[in-house]
Symmetry: D2
């Protein structure tokens, strides 16, 4: 039996649509899933572009993609909790259970993590094989396209909810798809004032629709001055960093309030230069590096928020294509004029 899949076929840019066998070699703890919806991550864009990072990490041929929802159609011999017919999503970090971090329950920083769609075949396909232990069963009757974006929503939730933001002023730095999710989460849980920072007009508008009280465009305004104005000269209680932009990150250290918190998710190739004494020590702030999702607490938070019906997932997903239209999806993602892009196999 064959299926359609999007693969990185060779060490070069682009994606190739192929027919390949449906995986039938399930390990005892693996499950076969019919993919119902899958979404494009920034990582998938990196692989598509075949950037430096991809060249060092990816070993073609590889079925890419890791964000999805799907229906369980076959079970390995030792599978215990998942049943045929279950609608599932997956944590994409496969952890070792043996390193110091796993032994301490800090799976998200496992020393030996493998990532689905990066180190193993992923979900840009009609069918995908996954380890049972990575699956989350979705119990509520929710459109699969919303369920497919729960993994990146997990990054946003981890970033936004690590520090308490209810009643706090929050800067959301960078409004790509995950930053946009961050804005929306902040709105739902009652942040006092949400100040988003973004250069792309499409995303600026989307940020406003999703709950930003103020959106600052660094191309047009002095970000630090404007944030201070918007916060009575005090700065923001919590910075959530999604941009991975050197200037944006360095600015954030200037406008975080004394006693404030910074939750850092965005990745930058640049070195960051900070005035540690004045902006960290004397201010008494706390900075947290966000790695993936806390297993499985973040997933519980994600499904809780999704099932509460309070998030505007319909606005966060701006485009839906067929999986075979992968090039179109990538183009939209690369244009910056999108929220989340979903693909239907």
């Amino acid at each position: 039996m064959e299926m359609m899949a999007v693969i990185k076929a060779a060490r070069e840019p682009g994606a190739t649509i192929v027919k390949k066998p449906i995986p039938d070699d399930l390990g005892p703890n693996e499950v076969l899933i019919k993919v119902l919806a899958t979404s494009i991550c920034g990582t998938d864009v990196h692989i598509y572009k075949w950037d430096k990072w991809s060249q060092g990490r990816i070993k073609p041929p590889l079925t890419t993609g890791h964000e999805f929802s799907g229906e369980v159609i076959k079970l390995g011999s030792h599978v215990k909790k998942v049943n045929i017919g279950d609608i599932v999503s997956a944590e994409t970090h496969i952890v070792c259970h043996e390193c110091e971090f796993c032994r301490r329950g800090e799976y998200h920083i496992c020393k030996n993590t493998k990532i689905i769609g990066v180190d193993t075949d992923g979900c840009f396909a009609e069918y995908a094989k996954m380890p049972e232990e990575n699956l989350i069963i979705n119990h509520a009757p929710i459109d699969p396209k919303y369920l497919s974006i729960q993994e990146p929503l997990g990054n946003a939730v981890h970033t936004m909810l690590h520090f308490k933001i209810t009643g706090k002023t929050v800067a959301v730095v960078g409004c790509g798809p995950i930053g946009l999710m961050g804005v929306n989460i902040a709105k739902v849980v009652g942040a006092k004032k949400i100040i988003a920072i973004e250069v792309n007009e499409y995303r600026i508008n989307l940020a406003k629709e999703l709950g930003a009280d103020v959106v600052i465009n660094p191309l047009k305004e002095n970000v630090i001055e404007r944030v201070m104005e918007e916060t009575d000269g005090m700065g923001v209680d919590v910075v959530t960093e999604f941009s991975g932009n050197k200037q944006a990150i360095e600015d954030a250290f200037k406008y975080v309030k004394p006693g404030g918190k910074m939750s850092m998710l965005g990745i930058t190739p640049d070195m960051i230069t900070i005035d540690l004494s004045n902006d960290v020590v004397f201010k008494g702030i706390t900075i947290y590096g966000v790695v993936g999702r806390i297993l499985f607490d973040t997933w519980h938070q994600v499904t809780g928020l999704v099932e509460s019906g309070k998030l505007d997932l319909d606005k966060i997903i701006t485009h839906t294509f067929r999986l075979s239209e992968i090039d179109k999806g990538m183009e939209v993602m690369m244009s910056g004029n999108s929220g989340k892009v979903v693909l239907i196999p």
Copy 2:
């Protein structure tokens, strides 16, 4: 200049409507407020009924009431942050700043707390005098009746958000006005499943409207069995206790999940009997006693949630009367067939 006020005139049940002078003896750090809306607390009901607790604590004549929103119309000589025209609410605990707890920033358990409307004249009046340090300025243009219920909303917020509930199963035990607020907060912040427990049909319906996934009536069902069924035999992650009912409290220790949390606000005159070994120690749970609001973090959370517009405050306030109709308001409160009751001077 005179104003109308509701006072406890004598050591007996009921309330008396009187004309009395508008306070004009402002201390240097005090503020005079025109009350725009005030709401009835369970404590006001106790004083109205003149129950045993009131007899020991209240010294008539006293202007009762402590939940309100109002407009600042006069400032004491040393007032610094509040301005004439500001729309304010008040923290009702006046703290000492000198005891061990205040020196540690734990104002909510100050040893020498005085309570507005209990130990000092309150806000069931056209005008009220308050210490500046207790005031919260409301910046958003929100109907004063919603602003008036922020103080009790603070109790609900403190109870609901002390432990993380996003993505967790939560039991809300008792759906009086504050429990109902609790249900609504749990819904907004994305609790996974909200199980409310309540006997009164009016409040059962209201709990459902405000977001409860399940409401259990202990008069009709076995609470412990039903909670276990609703949670796949695991119990709830977090119990939030608003009932002050002996049986309800004891039951909760049975259906809280291992590793679970209990946030206790309800007050009972009864002794509680628990199986500490099996239900606390072996389960590894954490229990927290909720006293008022954390100064002033809880207030920031409250105003954040109110301003987010996600709470259904219009459903939580079920009745609005004139202040002169205090007896009607008390009657409705005592019937149990209400959410929050607001009075307009």
Copy 3:
């Protein structure tokens, strides 16, 4: 090859010394250990006495005992981190890695825990077989008898260090072997005042030697009054409960300070009756049920404290016997006139 072992041979009180084969059927992830020192836990005493709990749980024949240090002498085929010659101790809870709690890293409350020496053969023997993942390698050159008591020391550490006690007044309720360890830990980490509560004169004296500033004997004094006197009428900041005595536990709720903490380890067959409103809610306290050790954070704390050389382990271990003198060891434990009792195979 045969070895000496202490087993529960039949469903009756007592212990039997037998010759049995040295385990040679190592699973791929198991390790064979030559036991260098083992110590007697309260649980071992229950099994020895054949009390009600033992009758329901223990299936003879069983090699009992779970606290030990030993040398690794043989490795299963998949063992990775432990080497022959390593001096090891063991976490005694074998966890499932699959339940909700394990998936969240909360191994200590695993739903499917098996306990070494209770559900599987233990270490009251010359040799014992253990799963690699339960082992802790002891790197410092420390007398094996001190290393053997690290497992119960973990219970004490978990209980004492869950809440911050440096600079706090602490009540240590019950000075059996684990409570005595608790007193000593509190001394080392700089508790402000350590108030121990104990009836047995031998243990009262030992508590004083290990660092208690005050020891109250409930047979001779009113505990609540005395604690309040010793704390300027404020009560203690932190209660650590090791007694499992109904009266002692109920008293503790009376003398814990507002905003205080209670860490509960002791197990009682009795129901506990508390004034929840006055002693938990109005006081705003936090209560925590202590289950075993946090994997593996508590173990790191234990080895850190042991290696710091600041604990008085030589005073905590009051008796050392040969393993063949198991009856003597049990007798001393049951007399109450001991700290920790160690057995050398």
Copy 4:
């Protein structure tokens, strides 16, 4: 009545010993103290040297010094808790009680802090006047010279105990007087391995005596490589930064373990350049800026540790002079060949 005092008399380097009147103008909440011992802070050295910071902040004439212990000899009219004869020390931050931070109990980051001996007359004198609310009463009969160093010990305690270090590997970066205190605290509370980093041979030796397992001299060794070797290639769990040295700080980001913590106290005039993506985000670490002492929790921890008798305060204080020998004290401090330097009036 006159007293001897060390003052900054003019806008130039050095200190002047003068006779000036004993303060007799006590405010209602102030207390007069006979200084028994005082110690030299790095800040005092800055003022002595009349560096750039001092030139911008200090307004001569000013009695300098802020670390001390003394005996209360006179009380202002409203003083309530302190009594004549009490042996006291003082928190040196005078806070406003009115800013957002004070209202939230976060006094240590008060927006309007004044510092004793910097903004108001200090304790390098035979007598000093202090606000009652800043005083800590020392109850235990401990040598005043040890009590005088509790304020800087508070900085060390705040830095060392903000994150849990019991059972963890800890780097103490910089072994000036406060770093040395840090080493000793880590030893007492059972850090697993203490790696100190220091260039001065005198202080290297002292660090070893106070509990460092390893001391790395960056002038002789590659710090990052050595730390990785000492930690099996994993890095340290917790970095505590006391050096204020650009290179030392940047190195620390390289050798902190994934999931690790950094507690930053040292002040540097330089900008710090870090690889945020690899060393903060992907590692999932947490960084905390340490400001002074948490009021008054840190003080309780300090007195708890001092009274436990486990710290080697006799080794931490390396020099004692008469107050009139201030120049000698400053010289020793500036040489780097000292721990803490105490002055006796």
